[in-house]
């Protein structure tokens, strides 16, 4: 009983209003709105209340969804109205898909422009004849593990997100359904591997990614973009560290929310699932944008950047220019190796020189 019966006119007005609402709620956008209103007007002053409309209206307008009892088992079967569903629909259709598309597009365009303006960042001193060991086999394995899993998840995820507007026109509904089904199964299956890879990455790289003194300078000078001068940095620079922590935190968010989404069996409510989806989507788009930048630098953006991840060794001049604090220390510790020694350790040597000849520089 929400209406106080003391005020007659108010109560009357409300009763008419109630009828109107009844009409709206009763049959969504149905043509009998007019008829209903008319019938209400034909009987002025009579308190004709529609119990069903009252019920639905209460369910809708109360803050918490009214739930009752039902014989039917399952998640939230007693809930009459899923209040968050519509908000989630709006987010997905009006915000996530268009904005997400723009963000990814914008990143690519920005990088293109940046590349056209700045070009490939060269090793200024040119490639030297010595190298520094940068990543162990295990470190590179972990990196490429998370990279391959991430790429797979990103591609399948983007297909599921943008497939309806972008791929259905190409493949038709049936064709896209095949793609989407495959993507969904693959995405769900590979998802947990991302978490595994994330744990491996975290433990392998966390020590070198703790922020240090020089990192603020790096940030202030835009990582060397401003003023075109290299900024001193350690094994990882401020940007890489930030990416690492983004990966750790946002990646965990994506991973855990993803687990929520793939375990409907846990009986979590729709509100929580929708929230998980929101977190999953925003986090994933953010990470995809960041990783596009990461891939840009690794491939076309900078000379010598990918070498370390590919071969395990990086050029000495590259190290001096981009990670000078680390490079100086490493050189002091005598880690620098001739290109031949590196080639030998990487099994690239094919000459008939005595096998023992190159072992001097072999580090552990």
């Amino acid at each position: 009983m929400s209406m106080p019966a003391t005020d007659k006119t108010a109560s009357q007005r409300l009763s008419v209003f109630g009828l109107c609402l009844l009409a709206v709620c009763l049959l969504l956008f149905s043509p009998l709105v007019d008829a209903e209103e008319k019938s209400a007007r034909e009987l002025p002053g009579v308190k004709v209340f529609n119990p069903a409309a009252e019920l639905w209206r209460d369910v809708r307008q109360r803050e918490a969804p009214v739930s009752g009892k039902t014989q039917v088992g399952g998640v939230e079967t007693g809930v009459l109205i899923n209040a968050t569903g519509d908000r989630w629909r709006q987010f997905r259709m009006d915000e996530l898909i268009p904005v997400g598309g723009y963000v990814i597009g914008a990143i690519i365009v920005l990088l293109l422009i940046f590349y056209m303006v700045r070009g490939r960042v060269p090793i200024e001193g040119g490639a030297s004849d010595r190298k520094l060991p940068r990543y162990t086999t295990y470190e590179r394995m972990v990196h490429w593990f998370i990279a391959s899993v991430f790429l797979f998840l990103a591609i399948t995820g983007l297909i599921l997100l943008f497939g309806r507007p972008m791929l259905i026109p190409l493949f038709g509904k049936e064709g896209f359904s095949i793609i989407a089904s495959a993507c969904k199964e693959g995405h769900n299956l590979m998802g947990p591997l991302f978490l595994l890879a994330l744990v491996m990455v975290f433990f392998q790289f966390v020590r070198r990614n703790i922020y240090q003194k020089g990192d603020l300078t790096w940030l202030l000078r835009g990582g060397g973009i401003i003023g075109k001068k290299h900024v001193p940095s350690n094994f990882f620079n401020m940007g890489e560290k930030t990416m690492f922590w983004l990966l750790v935190f946002v990646g965990s968010l994506i991973g855990i929310s993803g687990l929520v989404l793939v375990f409907p069996v846990l009986g979590l409510g729709r509100e929580f699932m929708a929230l998980a989806h929101v977190g999953h989507a925003i986090g994933a788009l953010l990470m995809i944008a960041v990783i596009i930048g990461h891939i840009y630098i690794g491939t076309v953006g900078m000379e010598g950047a990918i070498e370390g991840m590919k071969t395990g060794y990086c050029d000495l001049n590259w190290a001096k220019e981009h990670h000078d604090l680390w490079a100086t220390k490493a050189i002091d510790q005598g880690e620098a190796m001739s290109n031949e020694a590196v080639a030998s350790l990487n099994g690239e040597k094919t000459s008939t020189a005595p096998p023992g000849a190159t072992i001097q520089g072999a580090g552990k």
Partner: protein
């Protein structure tokens, strides 16, 4: 040269039996054997991966026995085995493998990689791709009778010394003795104490033994270089001598490769079983001790460890006797982390010690043993192989370590309860 190469390839082809076919079919290139090989672990050079060393054999097998190989060859996509393959692999096959067999123990599909390297050497040696040091050693063994050029005259001189020192008569060419004892040149030249010890122990135990003037040398360079004919010739001499003397047993000396050669490969090389049995000196000593024929007294309280010679333990199967014997004379005997059939090689087996070219690599690979010793912190290492002993001493000297290497047989002789001898 080219004809010789063809012969080498033909010999190599002959080596491919069911075992090798099975091994090459099974290898999934996992690389786990690399971590078992001291030449890899000490240099990190991937070419020292054991299975990589048999690449020429694999290539031959692939081209001639597999579908893709045959197809690739007929299409000209795969080049057949060439002489440059032999040239490129010669050092890998000879310098960086001691035939220690450790890789064969870890292979997940159970490949006996050592067996394959042993077999690939057959082809290489025929084709003429073998280190000069080993070639010469084999030549000396065939012509003079010992890889180190030791003649029976030298032996006699050494024996005379021993007789003088011990006051014992050393039986030579004694018909129908029970045991015929062999030595390695290394022992005759560098460690005559070994002969002395044997004489004392055999005397104390009352063993009827003899040394043959026709065949005193136990080592077999033919096997190390991979020359079947030479190996058969060398084994044949021993067999002939033993059978003409009518001995029941031939005693293999401490030397490891000698043991595998005479005990396991010998009958197959000459193509018939022996009329006698081959025992390793440690087996014999263990047996004598168990029978109570030799008595030992006193125990050393210096901490000791045992270096297992690969060919005696891992490839020879004499695993427990050295331990039983050492325990009976040492109070503080501790094992190294990897011991027994998983021991690390000294670095000089399989003919590597006869190969001057490999010296640098061999010294480098000694780091493994050094590390093992440092980890254990024991300064006395007992072993039962003259070759190991020399190599270990060289390595220790190189690193200026004050670790003592002693022979197990000699150690036992020191603790012998001397019944008859006044010494």
């Amino acid at each position: 040269m080219s004809e010789q190469f063809e012969q080498g390839v033909a010999v190599l082809r002959d080596q491919i039996d069911a075992r090798i076919s099975s091994y090459l079919s099974s290898c999934v290139h996992c690389g786990i054997c690399a971590e078992a090989c001291l030449f890899y672990t000490e240099t990190n050079d991937p070419r020292y991966t054991p299975i990589h060393k048999v690449e020429p054999l694999k290539k031959l097998w692939q081209v001639e026995n597999t579908f893709w190989g045959k197809l690739g060859k007929s299409l000209g996509l795969i080049k057949p085995l060439t002489e440059s393959d032999f040239a490129d692999w010669e050092q890998l096959v000879y310098d960086s493998c001691t035939l220690c067999g450790r890789c064969s123990m870890v292979c997940p599909v159970g490949n006996d990689i050592t067996y394959m390297i042993r077999k690939i050497r057959e082809g290489f040696s025929v084709a003429g791709y073998a280190p000069d040091g080993m070639k010469e050693a084999t030549k000396r063994a065939l012509t003079i009778g010992s890889p180190m050029g030791v003649t029976f005259k030298t032996v006699q001189a050494a024996l005379a010394h021993v007789e003088k020192d011990t006051g014992l008569k050393i039986p030579i060419d004694q018909q129908n003795a029970e045991y015929m004892t062999l030595f390695s040149s290394m022992e005759i030249v560098n460690f005559p104490e070994y002969i002395e010890s044997i004489a004392k122990i055999f005397d104390a135990a009352g063993v009827s033994w003899t040394i043959s003037s026709q065949a005193f040398e136990a080592t077999n360079s033919g096997i190390q270089i991979g020359n079947k004919e030479a190996a058969a010739e060398l084994v044949g001499r021993v067999v002939k001598a033993a059978e003409s003397l009518g001995v029941k047993y031939v005693v293999s000396p401490e030397c490891g490769h000698a043991y595998t050669a005479i005990r396991w490969e010998g009958p197959n090389l000459i193509g018939r079983p022996y009329d006698f049995e081959v025992v390793h000196i440690l087996e014999l000593l263990d047996k004598l001790k168990a029978e109570g024929r030799i008595k030992l007294e006193g125990k050393d309280d210096t901490p000791m460890t045992l270096h297992d010679p690969c060919q005696i333990v891992r490839r020879g199967g004499v695993v427990d006797p050295p331990r039983n014997l050492l325990h009976s004379v040492a109070d503080h005997f501790t094992e190294m982390t990897d011991h027994g059939v998983m021991n690390w090689c000294c670095g000089g087996g399989g003919g590597v010690s006869a190969n001057e070219r490999a010296e640098e690599l061999r010294i480098k690979s000694f780091d493994r043993k050094k590390h093992q010793l440092e980890e254990l912190g024991v300064n006395t290492m007992v072993t039962a192989c003259a070759n190991c002993r020399i190599i270990l001493e060289e390595g220790l000297e190189h690193h200026e370590m004050d670790t003592e290497v002693i022979s197990l047989t000699e150690l036992l002789a020191e603790h012998l309860v001397s019944g008859k001898t006044p010494n």
